[in-house]
């Protein structure tokens, strides 16, 4: 009796069980989209402080109307031209910043009738209630792209790598190098081209 081996378990239905589980997970799960455009809303300000006076030439006004047309600086514009127009405006550097420094890193035309300094240049975005959300996102995307383009160019000039690469390095645990100085470098580029996007309510 001791010699008799244990009977083999029939594993023929194993595949069926596994298929059942597989189908369950296929149905109940989604590969979620976890990417998007990060934005920060302005806090509600109750204080009676006078807002600082912004000169017209430092403002880049964009209006999206209910028929999804863009009006940029009082002129009709196609979405595909918006990025270049925003870059030209931000990078103009025709004057001085609030501390009286000239923009020595700008590549713009130094046109006195356009923005003074990237630090002063503000993009103002206004939309109507009937504006389609996809148009609004497209415009937001183009504006973020304009800032990213300027920052990348500046980062390449200063450090030979794009800002995107620097940020990827910063979050990469395997990256060899000094993360403190890297963070300072990233901050510097971000301060030189600050994102000043105001939305009109």
């Amino acid at each position: 009796m001791a010699k008799r081996s244990a009977p083999e378990v029939n594993a023929g239905s194993m595949a069926d069980i596994a298929f059942l589980l597989l189908i369950f997970f296929l149905v109940t799960t989604t590969i979620t989209t976890d990417t998007g455009l990060n934005r920060k809303l302005p806090p509600i300000d109750d204080s009676e402080v006078e807002p600082p006076i912004i000169r017209e030439k430092n403002l880049f006004t964009i209006l999206i109307n209910g028929r999804n047309q863009l009006m940029v600086e009082e002129e009709l514009m196609d979405l595909k031209d918006l990025r270049k127009a925003a870059v030209d405006f931000l990078d103009n550097g025709g004057g001085v910043d609030s501390n009286g420094n000239k923009c020595d890193y700008c590549h713009g035309k130094k046109d006195p009738s356009s923005s003074d300094h990237p630090d002063k240049a503000i993009i103002s975005l206004k939309n109507e209630r009937e504006t389609k959300y996809s148009t609004y996102i497209s415009v937001q995307n183009e504006l973020v792209a304009a800032y990213n383009q300027l920052r990348d160019t500046r980062a390449t000039e200063l450090y030979g790598v794009t800002l995107k690469q620097m940020e990827a390095n910063y979050s990469d645990v395997n990256w060899i190098g000094n993360k403190e100085t890297l963070k300072e470098k990233i901050e510097r580029v971000k301060i030189e081209y600050p994102q000043k996007l105001s939305e009109v309510q």
Binding site: F25, T29, D34, N38, R39, P43, I137, N141, A145, Q201
Partner: protein
Amino acid sequence: MAKFNKKKSGDLPAINTASLPDIVFMLLFFFMVATTMRETTLVVQNRLPYADQVEKLDKKDLVMYIYIGKPTQAFQNQFGKEARIQLNDKFADLSDIRAFIASERATKREELVPFLTVALKVDEEANMGIVGDVKQELRKENALKINYTTRQGEVSSN
């Protein structure tokens, strides 16, 4: 010739399916790891717009989702075809947003509350009117970090 006859006789040998469970388990584990459970049932249409300057939302547990879109086919008789807000599994009004944010905050540890992000999953067909109203409510509740969830792609396909 008996030697040769032997080969011709007999049926096709059965395919060995012993490794089939292994293959299926491999697939199963892939799906278990690569996907997350769908937490809410969508009651609104949710075709997200495209954008290419996207950033990743990393900490999944620090995200609150607000869905906006027109009700799906099954709910259109009851709720009409205008874009609506969905919080958790239900349709909600603008006035419910502040309570929703407060209750989400209550479930998180106090030191994590400033890092909470609101992900706006808005259908591309929706109007900015409702989105603007939601943003105003979020400002009132001081939930200022927002993310417009988009699909990755060219804006020209919007």
